[in-house]
Amino acid sequence: MTLSRSAGSRVMTVMDREDERPLVARLRAGETGAFDDVYDAYRSRVFAFLLRMSQSRTVAEDLIDEVWLRLVRHASSLRPDTRMGPWLFTVARNLYWTYRRDWLVEEAFAPDLLTLWPSPPAWPSPFDLAAAGELERRVEMALSTLPPQYREVLLLVAREGLTPTDAAAVCAITPEALRQRLARARAALAQKLEETPAVATLKRGYAT
């Protein structure tokens, strides 16, 4: 299991493909130790992805529960060549979009009822922003204003280190469509950052 991060560029491989095969075999056999290995390797990554997509800690906590419960419910039917990262992010993404669709329907048909229901606290919260550095704060805020289709490709490729092919499979689009969407998402994020004086800081901070 490797995890590497370098300044400027980052290639992240939580589990190598060869490491995953025996792990998936153990998981299919119902070994709790195998589950723990996957859980510890991916829990925070999948949760951070859901948090940035849903922009609500409460919603992300509900969705992360369902992601892991789905894994154990389907453990015996996993294919031997299943790759855990793409599998987990696919489930997480699908759960997010299902949640979002339901939420939009509720908002469209019962807006009055929604005002009676306490809305979940927004994310990033003032506490999260205070804990982050200036640069990170700006990036988080800019990212949170992007459409979710842009946000997900940026997070999957740039933050989680998925290859364009894997990220395309997670998003159920072709690799070429993903490349185009990633380019548009990157341009949109850059524009959002240009609207604040952060871009100069960005260039100083990350240019190699």
Partner: protein
């Protein structure tokens, strides 16, 4: 823009360097225990599936026994009717 260009891009690098987040330790432990329970219960669910696959055999046996009983009843009626004549 190629994928390698993306990795060297300062905007994407800023996204790459965002901090990670996690659920609370209490939530983590609770979810882990819950998943262990479901994972360990998996063979039980497979048994239930096996039982479901075996169900047609049980139904066939039941139908055969029912048919045999009806046949015996019919034969008995015919024999008694024949004896009465």
């Amino acid at each position: 823009m190629t994928f390698d260009d993306n990795l060297n891009d300062h905007v994407l690098a800023a996204v790459a360097n965002l901090r990670t987040h996690d659920v609370s330790q209490r939530h983590t432990d609770r979810l882990r225990r819950r998943c262990h329970v479901v994972l360990l219960a998996e063979p039980g669910r497979n048994l239930a599936v096996d039982r479901k696959h075996r169900a047609p055999v049980g139904r066939v046996i039941g139908q055969v026994l029912g048919g045999a009983w009806c046949l015996a009843y019919l034969v008995e009626i015919i024999l008694r009717a024949a004896a009465a004549l």
